[in-house]
Amino acid sequence: MLMSTRVPLPYTPKVLELFRNPRNLGKMESPDVVSQAGSPACGDVITIYLKIRCGIVVEAKFESYGCAANIAAASALTEMIKGKKVEEAWSVEWKDVADELGGLPAIKRHCSILAVGALRRAIRSYYKDEKPEWLPSELTLAERQALEEEELIDRLYGGRVART
């Protein structure tokens, strides 16, 4: 079953550690905002839960359906934004998450892009009524990639019916 392969560079110990013991894992009781990115058909979905007080991310949690890197990326990202201003959280790039993980193999970068995409969706949704200045109106790269992934799979999927 060779499709699941082609990993020229493997995980860092940090990825493995966060996969083993994820921080900030699980549903949040009464979050201020929840957002999801990815699609089950793609094999990766990340849900981000945020609690925001006075423009500060006071709590961040995640759930992940995906590979070890996906889980680690979501966990690392929530850890990185906790206690930060929302504006700062917004400015975290996928590269920062990858760095935090000690690097990601090229084919695993989409995991941190997806995590950032999910977070930005959450933030955008939090501000859907009242957009702060720093929030671009155009979708950022990470958000667009999340969208693309979701749409791509629909196209690939075509008429196929899940028999689950």
């Binding site: 699941s4 082609r6 995980y11 493995l16 799979i153």
Partner: protein, 383 residues
Amino acid sequence: MSGRVRELLKSHGTPPREVYLDNENSGWVPPEVVEATLPYFNVKGYGHPSITNKPGWEALELILEFKELLSSVINGEPENVHITHSGTEANNLAILGVKRRGKVIVSDVEHYSVLLPALTLDAVRAPVDEQGFIDLDVLSQLVDSETVLVSVQAVNHEIGTIQPVKEVYEVVKDRNPDALVHVDACDALGRVELNSDYADLMTFSSHKVLGPKGAGALYTKVKLEPPLKGALSTETLWPGVENVPAVAGFKKALELYLEDDLEELRRKRDKLIKGLLSIPDTLLNGPRDRRAPDNVNVSFLRVEGEAITVELSMRGIYVSSGSACTSRLLEPSHVMLAIGRSYEEAHGSVMFKLTRYLTWEDVDYVLEQVPEAIERLRNISPL
């Protein structure tokens, strides 16, 4: 780069108990098989099998012994056995080597080493049912006077479906006696009966029967044009020197494989399947009957396969998945899709290939660990 892998392995650690079940992708080679290869590195037969000196003749002796063994297993002729370095190469030789050009038909669940060369020849894909069995009626309609080659594997490498190759052969020849039938028997050797009467070409691979990597074989009754060129040895269809120690290992491994207690394998397989299906939201991939005795393949819904392989690895259970999570191509196993699995189902698929070295205690260990692993991952998942 290797330093990073070293770090990862350090952080992974060595689990107290290890059960290797990824024999489909890479066979664990038994010590007695390794033992059989050793003389051929530097004690005897380390020469070139077509050179006229003692180490060369010793190499030739081994090559001939191997051909005699393999051909006897399939009721064929030793001269028809050709040696390559892998099953992939033997399949490429079969598909690309047929001299006549025309319509090529392959089943929808062939191994990539059949499917991809065939697609370069604009092959037509014959559909399979939800358990992976080829549709003989459709096949019969596909075969026409233009057809030069039909390739159908004897046992599917992912879901263990045992194809009715005799019926395939008869259907094809009935429609067009000149069409050649290629049977990829890599996963069938030593597991189901094989007869060269019902194939014009047949592929085998050493490491699929727990031989060392580095040897494959193509049985062919017809002349082929080798896709690669170079100096020939006693082997005339694949250039370069035969990997004699690997062939020695292939021979020994096959001898052992032929002695396997298939009934016992089946019982272990069935216990594993039953135990795994008792995990909620788990599907069996492939048939219950007419399934290779060593193949187990299930899909765990709402978990992604690569995560399962890592999770199980840390528990000392080594498996693979048909997920596409890492490929970024979004394309999971084509076999899963061909049998009608959804993408999600394919992503959660896990395959186990059993060998005689899997003990009943190993089976129990797997059935203790896998449910825990799946539960942990499902608790992480938002689905």
